[in-house]
Amino acid sequence: EPEVTQTPSHQVTQMGQEVILRCVPISNHLYFYWYRQILGQKVEFLVSFYNNEISEKSEIFDDQFSVERPDGSNFTLKIRSTKLEDSAMYFCASNPGTSYEQYFGPGTRLTVT
């Protein structure tokens, strides 16, 4: 069964560094999402992406964040200058556009030191 994949599984970075989190959504899916979960807190929506543009973003998704679908298969989340409070599990999800179910990847645990 096709799955959403994410790399790396764990990323450690220093404050102020740029990180890129990578996701490969399920092939032929049309809608893409990033969520994050700070340890002990709820899963929070960051951004949704459709037709090569952002369709919705949360107040968390400020100018430090950007998303890209550079080659038709990868979907990336970039954090330009990481802060300690960016430490979280980041989940990618995709949706086929024929139902409302979102399919989640295994997550990338980002640790900012």
Binding site: S48, S55, G105
Partner: protein, 114 residues
């Protein structure tokens, strides 16, 4: 604004016990409702969903949930839990128009002792 409340943060049950996890939502319109499960070390998986129709929905692994519109609730149930049900359970809601974001509850960590 949409919000989801899960009142039980940690639940401990013995095998064969019955399970009910509460979920209440706040949203000013028609909603789609979901329960996701996250087994240790694994990704979020869909257990079941409600879009419309019969308010009692059945999902995978013997789980079911009942949508009660008047109570803004979507509680998850299972008559007899197994050790393998140990996981974290998340209730989520989205508006019923388009492919919008999911709004999640805080999750309930279930531990089933053998």
């Amino acid at each position: 604004a949409q919000s989801v409340s899960q009142h039980n943060h940690h639940v401990i049950l013995s095998e064969a016990a019955s399970l009910e996890l509460g979920c209440n939502y706040s949203y000013g319109g028609t909603v789609n409702l979901f329960w996701y499960v996250q087994y240790p070390g694994q990704h979020l998986q869909l257990l079941l969903k409600y879009f419309s129709g019969d308010p009692l929905v059945k999902g995978i692994k013997g789980f079911e949930a009942e949508f009660i519109k008047s109570k803004f609730s979507f509680n998850l149930r299972k008559p007899s839990v197994q050790w393998s049900d140990t996981a974290e359970y998340f209730c989520a809601v989205k508006g019923d128009t388009g492919f919008q974001k999911l709004v999640f509850g805080t999750g309930t960590r279930l531990l089933v002792s053998p």
